[in-house]
């Protein structure tokens, strides 16, 4: 497989940028549309499938400027409406085009607290880059301005140069806020509430903070050092952190308000109860939820076999069930842990896959074998109760369902069997029951998700919620948006004693 090296991409961009700058004329829309879309430099697929290092390496400054020059500077800025936190995209892209990278980063930070994270994990092609005029003109959403990659570059530059400012904190108000969980929604709430001078304590059940950014998303897609830097920034603001502390068990939610002196609570516990298919053989040895598989590798560092105490199952032939980012993460992790073959089984087509396009591309380049329009029917075990094979059914696409995606319809008697020793189920999560089971009066919907009003407040006074515990499995940026909203409501509440 041909792989363009980061140096080649950089040199091509530098030459092109020099040519544009040398002409001295302002760029017309036609000129901008003619600039080649900048490919994301990446590790060679043959090399990276043997390591845990980040795959996407980030643009060079020249690539960033060149990509930013592709922006048509539309008056109506359709991209902004595609962004859940309404970042002023045309402004930060223009600043990047002019190599005013600090300004660019500052513009993003006005709206988003975690640009280095979002630049990496946002599904841009279905958010800001979906309505991009350039993408429409070129009739390919993947040729839209690479807003996320520009965001990542300027955010990384700011981080790496040590220019990341600790947000200013107002004088102490004496009011206390508890934040439950430490994922993206909670990080946002903690920062926004702390800024107003309130005392903030984050309660995290795991031994390390960061939530899904740490236990779920692998190092090769989001380096843990970046998450740690965001957590360190919170701690530098004076946010307190209690790890190994599970609300609902170590302390009840109501106790925080009634006995521990907290004036408000934010619940950002995420969607942490893995779904299984409900098929025969699912409790065999060698069947894992993606949560378990990824947590063992990421949070518990089982990939580091020399040092980690936590074991991870030795796999040769792996089937991953699902088509989202988590499925891609699990499949690519299995490859890196030494599996000979990894098969990704999805019952619709690549068109309907919820995973980011870039992750699907990366998985394919690394050698994950895609089985579209297929689904597991049952799993066979050997005498020791270990996975031996998987039986699948073939599907075709029928009429669109409630989600707007075409419904997969099974083809009768299309069963076939593939030998496997490991099956990873990545079909999503339900909401974790701990808080709702131990908090009377907290209203949840039929899926167990916490019901909130337009300010993020739950059915209980002074208790707010956001992120996946409200939305079901969603994205980092949506969780952040929810956190922003709840933080605003909490701040408004505490401003009036």
């Amino acid at each position: 497989m041909s792989h363009t090296t980061p140096a080649q991409l950089h040199h091509a961009a530098t030459a092109k940028l020099a040519e544009i700058r040398a002409s001295g004329k302002p760029l017309t829309a036609k000129d901008r549309a003619a600039i080649p879309p900048q490919e994301m430099p990446s590790q060679d697929p043959d090399v990276r499938r043997g390591n845990m290092n980040e795959v996407a390496l980030g643009y060079s400054p020249e690539q960033t400027q060149l990509e930013a020059e592709r922006c048509l500077r539309c008056k109506n800025a359709p991209c902004v409406s595609g962004c859940p936190v309404r970042i002023d995209i045309p402004a930060f892209v223009k600043a990047a085009a002019e190599a005013r990278f600090d300004d660019s980063a500052a513009i993003i930070r006005n709206a988003s607290l975690l640009p280095a994270v979002c630049g990496r994990v946002c599904p841009q092609e279905s958010q800001c880059q979906a309505p991009c005029t350039l993408g429409k003109i070129l009739k390919d959403v993947n040729k839209s301005v690479a807003i996320g990659r520009i965001e990542r570059f300027v955010a990384d530059l700011q981080r790496e140069s040590g220019k990341l400012e600790i947000l200013a904190v107002k004088p102490p108000t004496g009011r206390k806020v508890a934040v439950i969980g430490s994922g993206p929604a909670s990080i946002t709430v903690a920062a926004d509430v702390r800024r107003e001078g309130h005392d903030v304590t984050i309660f995290e059940a795991f031994h390390k903070p960061g939530g899904v950014l740490v236990y779920g998303i692998p190092e090769f897609r989001l380096p843990k050092a970046i998450v740690q830097q965001e957590i360190d920034a919170l701690l530098a603001m004076g946010v307190k952190l209690e790890t190994n502390y599970v609300i609902g068990r170590t302390r009840k939610l109501r106790d925080l308000l009634e006995q521990d002196g907290f004036d408000a609570v934010f619940v950002g516990t995420g969607a942490g109860l893995p779904k299984f298919m409900g098929i025969e053989g699912e409790n065999l040895v060698g069947v894992f939820s993606a949560n378990e598989y990824l947590t063992r590798s990421n949070l518990m560092r089982a990939y580091d076999r020399a040092q980690a105490h936590t074991p991870i199952y030795p796999s040769r032939q792996v089937a991953v069930l699902g088509g989202g980012n988590v499925a891609m993460d699990a499949a690519r992790t299995a490859l890196r842990l030494g599996a000979d073959e990894v098969h990704l089984i999805y019952r619709r087509t690549e068109q309907e896959m919820p995973a980011r396009v870039e992750e699907v591309g990366h998985a394919r380049e690394e050698g994950v074998i895609f089985h579209m329009l297929q689904n597991a029917k049952r799993i066979f075990g050997d005498d020791d109760g270990c996975v031996r094979a998987i039986e699948c059914l073939r599907y075709e696409l029928g009429e669109p369902d409630a989600s707007g995606r075409r419904r997969p319809v099974e083809l009768k008697e299309s069963e076939f069997v593939m030998e496997m020793d490991t099956v990873i189920v990545a079909i999503g999560n339900e909401s974790n029951p701990l808080i709702r089971q131990t908090t009377t009066g907290l209203k949840v919907d039929k899926y167990g998700r916490i019901v909130v009003d337009e300010t993020g407040q739950t059915s209980l006074d002074a208790v707010y919620a956001g992120g996946d515990i409200v939305l079901g499995a969603a994205t980092v940026i949506l969780a952040m948006g929810e956190g922003r909203r709840a933080a605003a409501a909490i701040n408004a509440r505490l401003a009036n004693p």
Binding site: A205, F206, H207, K208, Y215, T243, N244, Y245, V246, R249, T250, R251, G272, L273, P274, F276, G278, E282, N283, L284, V285, G286, F288, S289, N291, E292, T295, R296, M300, R301, D304, Q307, A308, H309, T310, P311, Y313, D384, G385, C386, N432, P433, L434
Partner: protein, 284 residues
């Protein structure tokens, strides 16, 4: 927090430590467990029973057998040392009420989780018959503590080195044959013992509670590694359990799942024992 106050070796491979954990000591109820980690970067998260707690002093008592790396490392820690990570109390507490006559059956290390349950049942006014069993006399633990709670105490060993030479199922069967039969049986021990304990009570229709100890990562419902089949349905031991109707649990599947990392565990066990030996020699 998490400072070890005292440590005692109860048998060749079983240790008891008392740890400062005031929040857990205050909230814990009978039947609950904790997750422990001996290194918060590379350590494994493993579930351990809370054998006792003292809310006044803010301490909990853990009793564990050295099986894998974490339990060996924990056994090597000493009073004054701090356990890097301790999460809990986890799991749904035991349902406690005055059932009448309850038979509590503890096999080997299973006496440790049984102890707080027996305490709570006794406090609720139940008459307790306690059956304690082990392979031999040296593996019996908490005998004095259990004797203090029992209206009747029956001790059995596989080799007859103490008490009756029998398996715990023999006296359990005899109790089930009495009239009136016991109102409830609580059976905790190695999976194979719980399986046969449940089979013993089944024909007599004596409701039987078992407490399962499966492989876990987070202990809060997030990973599903602890799942078991109960009455044909998948349940998570960490949040739905650890206690279940023993007549409904698929023990064979559970025992197979417990062996998922057996080769790694055996290697660690072996390596840790070599290390312990080497330490002893160096010290000696």
């Amino acid at each position: 927090m998490n400072r070890i106050i005292s440590k005692k070796q109860l048998s060749a491979e079983v240790f008891r430590i008392e740890v400062e954990a005031p929040l857990i000591a205050r909230e814990r109820r009978a039947g609950q467990f904790i997750i422990v980690q001996v290194d918060d970067t590379f350590g494994e998260r493993i579930p351990l029973t809370i054998a006792d707690a003292d809310p006044e002093r803010g301490t909990i008592t853990l009793i564990f057998q050295t099986v894998g790396r974490t339990t060996h490392l924990l056994a090597n820690m000493n009073p004054g040392d701090t356990v890097p990570a301790l999460l809990g109390p986890l799991g749904t507490p035991t349902h406690i009420e005055n059932f009448g006559h309850v038979v509590c059956v503890g096999g080997g290390i299973g006496v440790a989780p049984l102890h707080p349950i027996a305490q709570a049942l006794k406090a609720a006014g139940n008459r307790l018959t306690i059956i304690m069993g082990a392979r031999n006399q040296s593996l019996l633990i908490l005998e004095d503590e259990m004797r203090a709670l029992a209206d009747d105490l029956i001790i059995v060993t596989d080799d007859g080195s103490r008490g009756r030479k029998a398996l715990v199922t023999a006296p359990l069967k005899e109790l089930c044959e009495q009239d009136p039969k016991p109102d409830l049986a609580v059976v905790i021990g190695p999976p194979i013992m719980m399986k046969f304990g449940a089979e013993t009570t089944r024909p007599y229709g004596v409701p039987t509670v078992v407490s399962l100890n499966t492989i876990m990562v987070d202990g809060t419902g997030m990973c599903g590694g602890c799942r078991v089949t109960v009455g044909g349905e998948t349940k998570f031991v960490c949040v739905d359990g650890p206690e279940f109707d023993g007549h409904q649990v698929d023990f064979d599947n559970m025992m197979k799942r417990l062996r998922a990392y057996k080769s790694r565990e055996d290697a660690d066990h072996h390596a840790c024992h070599l290390q312990l030996e080497a330490d002893k020699r160096a010290a000696g």
